[in-house]
Point group: C2
Chain length 291, copies 2
């Protein structure tokens, strides 16, 4: 294993020193403006690192603490064998890079993985897919944990793409990457999209746009809604605090509410998205007459 | 409005001073051991305070910042008119009590609201309920945000009770209270239950125990599973990191997996719980032959 970037000045007994240029470059990627400029981001934890590496993301550096190097020996060896510089750092530096108090000791610098919207629509307009199209549109979702969880759920539900639109959080935000649990590397993600453009482009390739809106009159388990969900669908989810304002609901073909049977005022965004996306997955896979 | 507890020593121009005994008592409630001793906890934010007050929880003090007092004038006036001491505090003290960097400026001291398991089972064995019983069992769920979100989802899905069992987080943890978004005050919560006792007591009143287990062979949308979910059900959810170990799955009548259609390794606990609980809510309300 090489300890790249650790010159005599920075080398601190095999560890990458706090002032190493590689570390300095990585540290800058905790800020969105620098991520945009370098088109690179930080993926923390063994799961994210393994998924980045195995799913063909462009990994340019791996930072690892000594305990994590032992714990995840095979993964680190694999990355090293792939010609990617592996830097051993102390726990303090790892905490700073990972921006969490309990980092898992492994962190990769990855090139952006997002794709243009046109790539998603081209894929959806082709034939031969086993299931009708299923796409997630995030409209001004600000909380990175929520956005990452929805991305993970979209992946689990077999969605074809997730579009981060309008004022939504940066998909490369550390908390979003962590909450996605590797799913950022599994399915096409569109970053910085405009909602109006996205809805129109997806509609053109045959998707119905359904807005998840707690104020909608029609509930998710309405038989008509269920029947329509069997077809190609893009689900639009709004901000965690105020949902979808009327002008965004108007971009959809139909607003649908997850029914509230108890006394809760609403569902948390990630929970609502899970219910909606699994309703679609189920409707797209099951004959209409099965319960 | 009274500014109770602010004696000459502690009064700082209408504000409750940092050394006030009422504040000291409230501050201790950020620790579980003190909550247990006093059987009281802190509910932060206008939603939690309003729900506590309106749902009949024993509210003994309200702490409020001056801006929040203006913003939530009607609620504060209502609490005050109810004879509950209202204390004005500065933002720093509020941050410390609320244990968050962006507190909403309102925080109530509430008596515990949990009920014994026997009260839940007595309610479930009675007749006249519109829906079959639906109960959530949290088995070693450690993350307070996850537990609170599941509580909120359980409320939304019309569940009758949530049982915090074995090594699960304290339902009165500040983050759990906050994530529950008021649902802690909406439906019966059982704290510090033993899972083995709870499963056996719930089974005795006719509930089937279903374990949410990603490793289970039978998927949630299996027609047999769907048919069985129409009956009284208790869903068991395990730890966010390692799920349910075999000895806990063995306490259930049936393990069921939320199907993974994409490449995600698993679902986040709160997302999985949302899918399972809404599957139950739907199965309990719809004729079997509707899609």
């Amino acid at each position: 294993m090489r300890v790249a970037g650790s010159t005599a000045t920075h080398d601190t007994g095999g560890y990458l020193g706090a002032r190493s240029p590689r570390l300095k470059a990585a540290r800058r990627l905790t800020k969105r403006a620098f991520r945009q400029r370098e088109r690179a981001f930080l993926a923390e934890g063994p799961q994210a690192v393994a998924e980045a590496f195995h799913c063909g993301a462009r990994v340019t550096d791996l930072f690892v603490t000594a305990p994590a190097r032992s714990r995840h020996h095979d993964l680190v060896a694999e990355v090293d064998a792939g010609g990617i510089p592996v830097h051993v750092v102390n726990g303090e530096i790892m905490e700073e890079l990972a921006q969490t108090v309990t980092p898992q000791g492994l962190l990769a610098v990855c090139g952006f993985v997002d794709v243009p919207l046109s790539e998603v629509t081209a894929g959806l307009s082709g034939t031969g897919r086993a299931q009708p199209g299923l796409v997630v549109l995030l409209a001004n979702v600000r909380d990175p944990g929520n956005a990452g969880t929805v991305l993970r759920t979209a992946d689990a539900a077999g969605a074809h793409a997730v579009v981060f639109a309008d004022a939504s959080v940066d998909p490369y935000n550390g908390k979003c990457v962590r909450a996605s649990a590797g799913s950022l590397f599994h399915l096409p993600v569109v970053a910085a999209a405009r909602l109006e453009e996205a809805t129109s482009a997806l509609r053109q390739v045959g998707l119905r746009i359904v807005a998840a809106d707690g104020r909608a009159g029609r509930p998710l388990d309405d038989p008509g809604v269920q029947a329509r969900l069997a077809g190609p669908t893009a689900w639009m989810f709004g901000n965690e605090a105020w949902g979808l304002p009327p002008e965004l609901v108007a971009l959809a073909d139909e607003p649908v509410a997850v029914p509230i049977y108890g006394r809760a005022e609403s569902l948390n965004l990630a929970a609502a998205a899970a219910v909606c996306l699994y309703a679609s997955a189920r409707a797209q896979r099951m004959p209409v007459d099965q319960g």
